[in-house]
Symmetry: C2
Subunit: 196 residues, 2 copies
Amino acid sequence: MAKAPRGRRPGAPDTRAAILGAAREAFAAKGFSGTTIRGIASAAGVDAALVHHYFRTKDDLFLAALELPVDPREVLASAVEGPLEEAGVRFLRAFLSVWDDPSHRPALLGLARGLLDPAGQQLLSGGFLPVVLLPLGTALGLDQPELRMPLVASQVIGLIIVRYLLAVEPVASMPTEQVVAAFGPTLQRYLTGDLA
Amino acid sequence: MAKAPRGRRPGAPDTRAAILGAAREAFAAKGFSGTTIRGIASAAGVDAALVHHYFRTKDDLFLAALELPVDPREVLASAVEGPLEEAGVRFLRAFLSVWDDPSHRPALLGLARGLLDPAGQQLLSGGFLPVVLLPLGTALGLDQPELRMPLVASQVIGLIIVRYLLAVEPVASMPTEQVVAAFGPTLQRYLTGDLA
């Protein structure tokens, strides 16, 4: 640390947990855009510089607060590398590489359930979209990412619910390649197709 | 009624409500296929003939237990009438005619939330699929309705969550025709397209 932060509990072992707790409450109540690092710091009783020290940016703090087993920005970054006309399949493969891994499943299912929780309604439009999906659409060079990425989200959420959360057959037991064949063209059309 | 049923409360005003309550518990616990009219009658303390008298079939009883504002079989029947290559759009228009009607919204949102409820996991695979979607796929003359209709369900569920439950923009405010243009081709491909 460059300098000692003001505020109480600057170096206590629970400082990081206190920041995360304050962040979860703030993001749930005010959404991503309505939340500030300064407000979280104040609620946690620490200096804003300490929040930055532990979590760098507001984007990073948002994702840390979700306690995801992986950083979705890193996982989905592979969708950007390659021909744009295959980005839908690459996106889907990156998604499945995490979700089809049973060791990640419990944490991810908890997150998915939270999506329909009244307190979790900010999770998608107030968090995942601006932090993960819109930057990805911009990195892909899409026209209208603000229209296209919510369409992508709609099919990915439906896939999560049918394949993992409700385990509806035959989708629940489909091999990865069959999921890619079934859903890949849908995502590709949402990313680059004619939607009018 | 042809004959007086055995069991208690044959004609009491709350008999119908007792049957519905027993049906809800049974469908939630055992799913559609694991539930019998006889078992529901027994749990409600009435004769099975009385259940048939009030609700005709198990399919009808399942839908009555959901307290839907409309019968989804009647709404979606219009998807069958017309060229198969436009069935996706007809399905979507029928769906939107109900969901875009604000008077139906509260009941439908309650149903959608129940989908992710642990007790409501049987709702889709144990109920909506066999009672509403698979018969529709069969009426359309699809090959592999048991594969195709769960794919349709995945996109429709994702649309419900993004447009109505989470109200993610711009999907939440899209005019009906724009929703049809964006999602219709997806449903059409799931109904009749190449998925391999």
